[in-house]
């Protein structure tokens, strides 16, 4: 955990300094808002990574039946959705000033919104069940399925349709037109930094749940 915190602080400090000051490609319409790439996209990467950990822990719960894994997967999903909401909001602001509107009926946007709703359903499901083992089993199966739903919604379906969002509409993820080496040297550290921040926050939540269990 100490290494995670240390690298989180270092990488995010670097992200902010380099993200604001380094040279970026000069593109029409985007102008300086291209720097939002360093902050908007890592939100989604963090969400996907934490949800992957969440569904992995649900899978382990189904295998072992240990309540600890269920609590872990719940907390990972919780922090992941927080990052996802930040991703939606930052994307909406960015879209307002480049596409001219907060929201369009774009497959990428709708897909990510549906994905968020699926996970909100997970939280509602958990709250509705009082019995610990029943809650663990049902919500774990739901959680594994939810992640399997999220991948086509965010990554596959938007690529099969036309989309305003970069990296979609038949193109592979980040191709030469979307990203160059100037952007990459800040973007990848930013992704790792925000993922580590997500792990840090989840760790705090897990410690609180551990204490609650003892009381």
């Amino acid at each position: 955990m100490k290494f995670i915190k240390f690298f989180c602080v270092v990488l995010l400090t670097y992200t902010l300094i380099a993200g604001f000051l380094f040279d970026v490609p000069r593109l029409p319409i985007l102008n300086e808002t291209i720097r939002a790439l360093y902050f908007h996209v890592p939100m989604w990467f963090t969400m996907i990574f934490l949800l992957l950990l969440s569904s992995f822990n649900s899978y382990r719960y189904i295998n072992t039946g240990k309540n600890y894994y269920d609590i872990k997967s719940y907390n990972y999903a919780n922090v992941a959705v927080y990052f996802g909401v930040l991703g939606l909001l930052t994307g909406m602001i960015w879209a307002k000033f480049t596409w001219g509107t907060f929201w369009t009926n774009d497959p990428k946007l709708n897909g990510s919104a549906i994905g968020m709703l699926i996970y909100l359903g997970y939280f509602v499901l958990r709250r509705s069940l009082k019995d610990e083992s029943k809650r663990g089993k049902i919500s774990s199966v739901y959680n594994v399925f939810a992640f399997a739903m999220l991948i086509p919604l965010i990554f596959i379906l938007p690529r099969m349709a036309d989309s305003l969002h970069p990296g979609n509409g038949g193109n592979p993820g980040f191709n030469v037109y979307d990203m160059n080496s100037q952007l990459r040297i800040v973007f990848y550290p930013a992704v790792v930094g925000f993922i580590l921040l997500g792990i840090w926050i989840t760790d705090l939540r897990l410690k609180i749940d551990e204490l609650k269990n003892k009381l």
Partner: protein, 57 residues
Amino acid sequence: MNNILIITLLLQDVAMADGLRSSGKIYVVLIICLLILFSLFFYLYRLENKINSLKNK
């Protein structure tokens, strides 16, 4: 056709915040954002200490 469109777009003079940088104001924004980031780290650190002290009780 698409490529020609992209090239003509790229050849245009794109407005970037050069003036902001030369007058030094971007550093103000950077300092503000760094302050927010570090206060967030400090907050998380304090929170963790609080939880740990509860745990040791």
